[in-house]
Amino acid sequence: MKTPDRKKLIPSIIIQTIKIYPVILILIAFVVIFSSLYPEKFLTSLNLTTILRQFVTLMLFAVGPSIVVVTGSLDLSYVGIWMLGGILVWFLKPILGMYSILVIPVLGLATGFLNGIIHAKAKMPSFILTLSLLVIYSGLTATIAGGIPRTVKGYDFITADFIHGIPTAFLWTIPIIIVAIYIMKRTRIGIYLYSIGSNEEGARLAGINVDKYKILAFTISGLFSGIGSVIIFQHQGGSVPVVLNLNTVVYPLVAIVLGGTLLVGGSGGPHRTILGALTFTVLIRGLIISFLDPTMIQLIVGLLLIVSIVVGSRGVKGVTVT
């Protein structure tokens, strides 16, 4: 390969990056549109902090499932883990004291493992499986909570102000994302998960224990959702809703797909979800500022999900694994 001269190097890097992450263009477009339409509202420090806060929620929910999506499956149980985990903290606090917060990651781990076992061994489609589990968990949540949202106090230290102006939850997100990317890119587990999503039969023939790694993918996803839920739980004031909100389920999915991870598996991953989540948050904030009717926002989100899946699946060959 020839070394391009210095003047051409920077534009070529930019073009290369945009080819791999076309969502950057959409992100820039959204920022430009919203800041020129509503300059006095969009580019305020308050709004930017809000974007960051919502990005955190979205990202923490999406990071686990984007690992599962790489294998060609789907994991929707994150909201269930968050809701049931949150209410269990309230339920167990009198017994376990401060340690009861640990119940969320444990629940996540167990749920992921359960999902993986049933999906891999009973060959149940992961979408139906995790959706059912989500419904079961939200039902359990409502039962335990008695139908009223409960608030738990005493975990303020998790999101205590660390650097002024930047939500502490955001700071928590950074190591979580780095660990997820590290697993997917730099370890054997990652390369095996990509191989399963890309060509399951081929992975089996290459001597990979496909069932084991599928279970592992769900377990890792569950654990990430569990850890993320701890932060989201405190991020939102130490309480969880007791009624399932479809938006919280769909938004992370949009973030994953918008980032360029294909639902058929084999490419993408957590690193792409960062951009997807950021773009999506900017869009949502922009739409909220615009005083659009909330139902209209839902419509746009639905359309966006369909369009990005269609665009993504048409461009299968153009999407690089990196």
Binding site: R186, R188, I191, S195, N199, G202, L205, G207, G266, V321
Partner: protein, 512 residues
């Protein structure tokens, strides 16, 4: 010239096609098809055969070139439907059959609109026409059968009949002669099935013309009237087999431009690598309905071929050893340790049994670069010592070594595999196993569907790997492959071993 001018059905002249303005897929290619003849097109993968065929059926449009239909100049077809209207249809190599449809449903698939009466299908009329056309072409099958119930060769025949039917239904004139393109029609068939299919095609010649795309030279020599040889997008040679005497070697040189490996490797050399040490003992292995009482010893550095027709149990045996199937009776001893019947492939791999299947795309991760495709079975080699983290530099070096060894044509090791030619894809997927070097390597059709040049490269590397003391078991459709690679050949029929002979004897028997 005996042939009258009006015998020519269609002719293309000076066709060129480039992709992305760089790759010359076709360069000034001309081809003519006359009435009632079979024209062969041969060449390596990547020589431009498929591109030429796709231009003929209207999938691609050429950069320049002319199209003559019965002497008149007309533009190239814009899409497959237009090509069908001109009488040209194609039968693809694979995936052309819809297994869950009945024969007559499949025959009319896509042409049902000709049989609609008050928005419902006139099934009786369809069935009658289906029977007629199958009779015309001597295809023996019941139209009420499902496609998957038919033998592979009959499925191919039905596909060909469907292509001709499509031409007739779509064309307005009655006297249309169909030109049917057969894109490697014999790839999934055994030798007997091939013979059967060719008998039928020769029969059909009365009613249609064929373009026969293949890289199996003996077939082409036997069944075609004229042959075009493509290499690197150029028309290298044109033989009229009824007039000239052409040998297999002539073809080989024209296609590849060099001598074949069989003449380089002498049998005596192969023998030297075999040692006394036994790595695999198979004793009375039985799975009812597949194979019975299979016993043999595999020594270090030895290659055993299992020879027999499809359905004889040869692939079941190799799949059993690979761990893809279980067995019912008998024992399997790997390096002195008896293994359980139901072990999955990944456990067998830890015992040193690697399995490679040449079936197209089965093993390859198409959206991955070459580096990852190779490291997938060699991860342990590229992990760092202290923390289990991938070492990308080592990964790249490993891939570069294999690319060089197998002479894979690629701009870089980071090129994604879907962009490679068929032969290079195969080389990548078999190359990862050579790098892994398991004690026992099972090869199922290692060179299926690839051209002679790539075959030679794979044979050469296989023999080199064998020299290192790797044992192999081979099954294949090509008798030549056995004579090049194997020390011993087991003949198998109806799931039972008939006889075991050495390479010398095998050569004599096959050439007889």
């Amino acid at each position: 010239m005996v042939m009258a001018m009006n015998d020519s059905i269609m002719e293309i002249k000076g066709v060129s096609k480039t992709f992305d303005g760089i790759v010359h897929a076709l360069d000034d290619v001309s081809i003519a098809i006359n009435k009632n003849e079979i024209v062969g097109v041969v060449g390596e993968n990547g020589a431009g055969k498929s591109t030429l065929m796709k231009i003929l059926v209207g999938v691609y449009s050429p950069d320049n070139g002319e199209w003559y239909y019965r002497g008149k100049k007309i533009p190239f077809p814009k899409n497959p439907k237009e090509a069908v209207k001109r009488g040209i249809s194609i039968v693809y190599q694979e995936k052309g059959v819809v297994p869950c449809l009945k024969v007559y449903q499949f025959l009319f698939l896509g042409h049902e609109d000709k049989y609609v009466r008050l928005s419902r299908l006139n099934i009786n009329k369809m069935k009658k026409y289906a029977r007629d056309i199958l009779e015309e072409f001597h295809v023996k099958c019941n139209i009420e059968n499902f496609m998957y119930e038919l033998p592979l060769s009959t499925q191919k025949m039905v596909e060909i009949a469907r292509a001709i039917l499509g031409v007739r239904l779509e064309h307005e004139e009655d006297d249309i002669t169909s030109v049917i393109i057969l894109d490697e029609p014999t790839a999934p068939l055994t030798i007997e099935e091939r013979r059967e299919l060719f008998g039928e095609i020769l029969d059909m010649k009365k009613n249609a013309s064929f373009i026969f795309v293949s890289h199996i030279i003996p077939e082409v020599m036997e069944f075609t009237d004229r042959v075009h040889v493509l290499r690197d997008g150029k028309m290298i040679a044109h033989y009229d087999l009824s007039k000239e005497k052409v040998t297999e070697e002539d073809f080989f040189k024209a296609i590849v431009g060099k001598e074949s490996v069989e003449y380089i490797y002498k049998q005596a050399e192969i023998k030297e690598f075999v040692s006394e040490e036994t790595v695999l003992t198979v004793k009375n292995l039985t799975k009812r309905g597949c194979y019975y009482d299979i016993s043999f010893d595999l020594h270090k550095g030895e290659c055993i071929g299992i020879f027999g027709p499809t359905g004889s149990g040869k692939s079941e045996i190799i799949n059993t050893i690979a761990g893809l199937m279980n067995f019912e009776n008998g024992s399997l001893v790997v390096k002195g340790k008896e293994v359980k019947a139901n072990e999955p492939p990944h456990v067998r791999l830890t015992r040193g049994i690697g399995y490679f299947s040449g079936e197209t795309g089965k093993e390859l991760f198409l959206n991955w670069p070459i580096t990852k495709n190779i490291s997938i079975v060699n991860i342990k080699k590229i992990l760092r010592k202290f923390i289990p983290v991938l070492n990308f530099t080592a990964e790249k070096k490993m891939a570069e070594r294999i690319v060089k060894q197998l002479r894979i044509k690629t701009p870089s090791v980071n090129a994604e595999c879907y962009a490679l030619s068929g032969g290079s894809k195969q080389k990548v997927s078999v190359g990862k196993w050579f790098e892994r070097s398991p004690a026992i390597l099972l090869l199922e059709d290692p060179t299926i569907g690839i051209d002679v040049g790539a075959r030679d490269d794979i044979y050469e590397t296989t023999l080199e790997t064998k020299k290192k003391g790797i044992s192999m078991i081979l099954i294949s459709d090509d008798p030549k492959e056995y004579s090049i690679l194997c020390d011993k050949i087991m003949f198998i029929k109806h799931g039972r071993i008939q006889k075991v002979i050495n390479n010398e004897k095998f050569k004599q028997e096959v050439t007889k």
